[in-house]
């Protein structure tokens, strides 16, 4: 009955191998260490996509497995970005300020340097004082800690209030939207201490590594994002494969029944909600240095709704579905909205994809929800199901067996 974790979850090794192959492939084709067939900016797009896959896996845990339709996980993602962004911006500005003050006749005092950094960072919002939230901005370690602690704490407090009063279903989704909207509106204010609608910028420049070209930095971030996604996937697969996963699915399907078995449903929901918020924070902390800028618009309610659409289209309740959805939809999205898709002239009217893409996406979401609730990931079922009878009782799991047949067919 007991077999190894990978044998029981064949999608995990397959995914990890594909992810490693992808990362090596991009490295070989990238500008820094390889042939240069993949541009630095596209490398960044791919690295960012890996981060989106990671938050999609987190949302799948919370929605696909536990049945909590959170429309607020991008708030945690954005907060993760802000937390690492504060350190990146502070340290880089400090280097600039120190360089410019180095020529002064009298060496600057530490206070003068801090004031200089403050003027540089907060000049755009008409201030030069460091707000309290920047108290730890000079410590990479503490800001990294805050990447998980701040989203985790927000999720813990929000979840405790919401789950304790047994808010479920649509009402909970609305509350999560309200949370993300409130956070975005707060951050939009100039006196929020995080530069209002300017957000934090210049995040692609790593302090102390100014001489390293972006082509290299982009590959490093790709590696880090791939490692985070791999570990996140492994963690998620481990969580859902055991009894904890059983309880999660039980809560999704019939939470009252789970209570009568003696499990405190609220505690489990809070655990999953908080854990996934922390994963989202990590994903955001890797994403925004690749994007270069984080601002309150990133946390807008619509972002969290997109996330749900990705997971729904990819196939919720299966981890690879979340990854497929996030990859496929976000890449196709950026192709359509980036102006790369050719316009379709219809004589009287020209279809401009930049305008029409959202409508296509919305319709596919409705289509998937109504006609293919398993999403793209459901195709895997068709395929393994169809291949299964061909195995003639061979001693292989369905996934391994079909994998071999695919190789043979290629």
């Amino acid at each position: 009955m007991r077999t190894s974790f990978f044998a029981r979850n064949p999608s995990v090794p397959i995914f990890l191998v594909l992810l490693a192959a992808f990362t090596i492939g991009v490295t070989i084709l990238g500008e820094a260490y390889g042939t240069g067939d993949i541009s630095t900016s596209f490398t960044k797009t791919l690295g960012k996509t890996l981060c989106l896959c990671l938050i999609a896996v987190a949302l799948d845990l919370v929605w696909g497995y536990t049945g909590i339709l959170s429309l607020g996980h991008f708030a945690f993602f954005g907060l993760g970005g802000y937390m690492i962004g504060m350190w990146l911006m502070y340290e880089r500005t400090r280097a600039i300020v120190e360089r410019s003050l180095a020529n002064a006749p009298i060496p600057p005092t530490p206070q003068e340097i801090v004031d200089g950094i403050g003027t540089q960072i907060f000049g755009v919002v008409g201030s030069n004082e460091f707000p309290v939230v920047w108290a730890f901005a000079d410590s990479l370690f503490l800001q990294l800690l805050m990447v998980v602690a701040v989203p985790g704490l927000l999720a813990l407090v929000f979840g405790w209030l919401a789950f304790r009063s047994r808010v479920t279903g649509v009402y909970l989704s609305i509350l999560t939207q309200a949370m993300t909207l409130a956070l975005a509106l707060y951050l939009f204010q100039n006196d929020s201490g995080l530069r209002g609608n300017n957000g934090l910028s210049g995040l692609q420049n790593l302090p102390g590594l100014g001489s390293v070209p972006q082509s290299k930095v982009s590959i490093w971030f790709l590696w880090a994002s791939a490692a985070a996604l791999g570990l996140g996937y492994l963690l998620a697969a481990w969580i859902v494969s055991g009894k904890f996963g059983s309880v999660m699915r039980g809560i999704r399907d019939d939470e009252a029944r789970v209570r009568f078995l003696g499990y405190s449903v609220e505690g489990y929901k809070l655990f999953v909600f908080t854990l996934t918020a922390m994963i989202a924070g990590i994903a955001g902390a890797l994403y925004y240095p690749q994007a270069g800028i984080v601002n309150p618009a990133e946390i807008a309610p619509i972002a969290s709704i997109y996330l749900v659409v990705w997971v729904a289209i990819g196939g919720r309740g299966r981890l690879y579905g979340a990854v497929i959805g996030a990859t496929f939809v976000s890449l196709v999205s950026s192709w359509f909205t980036g102006g790369q898709a050719p316009d379709i002239p219809l004589g009287v009217y020209t279809i401009k994809w930049v305008d029409w893409w959202l409508i296509v996406l919305g319709l596919s979401f409705v289509g998937v929800t109504l006609f293919a609730p398993k999403g793209i990931g459901g195709l895997v079922d068709l395929w393994t199901g169809r291949r299964a009878p061909d195995r003639h009782g061979a001693d292989l799991g369905p996934d391994q067996g079909s994998f071999r047949e695919r190789e043979a067919g290629e």
Binding site: M1, I239, G242, K243, F244, S246, V247, R249, G250, D253, D254, A256, R257, R259, F260, L261, G262, Y263, S264, V265, G267, Y268, F271
Partner: protein
């Protein structure tokens, strides 16, 4: 000394008194049948004990330490040792029979201990033993949703036994079962009542007779009569409201 003591409990839904000044007691290893016409309040009575419904007044006292169940959550009450089988079979249809039983098995219930929990040989042996008791040994790997109605009823009884509760509340366990399935269900319940308290709600008189236990008759939310089956079925008021219809 009783295991559970319900006294003077009333509950109303929108002004309608579903339970009216109900009192009830059961001892440690006792089997009790609860009968009564539809709408008598049998399911609501179980809802009150298990914390699903909060009574407007009255007391529900549990165990040696005489704890009140009224301030506990459903999950806490379940952990105290009160297990429940619902009228409509509710199992986790998307999961295997094995996973259903494993989830019900008596073990730590906190998120962290469940996260790091691994089934020990003992646990797996217990699942096997339960499966054979409920005649589902060869169905362990199937999804619970694929079982027949009667098998789902048994799986739910198996989950109830897996929790190893001190008190089992069983709501209409034989509904939708064939006569031979009913007989098997009776023997499972009788066996369980040797070591713990069992309350069975059932309509079928033959089923009740085979349980061979004290009977409580509910009517309009309160106890109408209590005693042996022959005693209550010869009570003219019981005949009037229930049997004579």
């Amino acid at each position: 000394m009783s295991l559970l003591e319900v006294s003077g409990v009333s509950v109303s839904f929108d002004g309608f008194k579903a339970i009216n000044n109900l009192s009830f007691q059961i001892g440690d290893a006792e089997m009790r049948a609860v009968i009564g016409p539809n709408g008598a309040g049998k399911t609501t009575f179980m809802d009150i004990i298990t914390g699903k419904t909060r009574p407007d007044e009255g007391r529900v006292i549990w165990g040696e330490k005489s704890k009140s169940l009224l301030s506990m959550s459903e999950a806490q009450i379940a952990r105290e040792g009160i297990g429940r089988k619902f009228q409509k079979p509710t199992v986790f249809e998307d999961q295997t029979v094995h996973a259903n039983l494993l989830m019900a098995l008596k073990n730590e219930r906190g998120p962290l201990s469940v996260l790091f929990w691994k089934p020990k040989p003992d646990d797996l042996a217990r699942v096997e033993a339960l499966a054979s008791e409920i005649a589902l040994s060869d169905q362990l790997a199937r999804k619970a949703g694929e079982l027949s109605h009667g098998q789902k009823q048994w799986l739910e009884i198996g989950m109830l036994l897996a929790q190893d509760p001190k008190l089992l509340l069983v709501d209409e366990p034989a509904a939708g079962m064939t006569p031979s399935e009913r007989e098997h269900t009776t023997s499972i319940l009788v066996e369980a009542a040797k070591t713990r308290a069992v309350v069975v709600v059932e309509h079928d008189m033959e089923f009740i007779r085979r349980l061979n236990c004290r009977v409580t008759v509910l009517h309009e939310g309160s106890v109408l009569a209590e005693g042996s089956l022959d005693h209550v079925t010869s009570d003219p008021r019981v005949i009037d409201v229930y049997l004579g219809r």
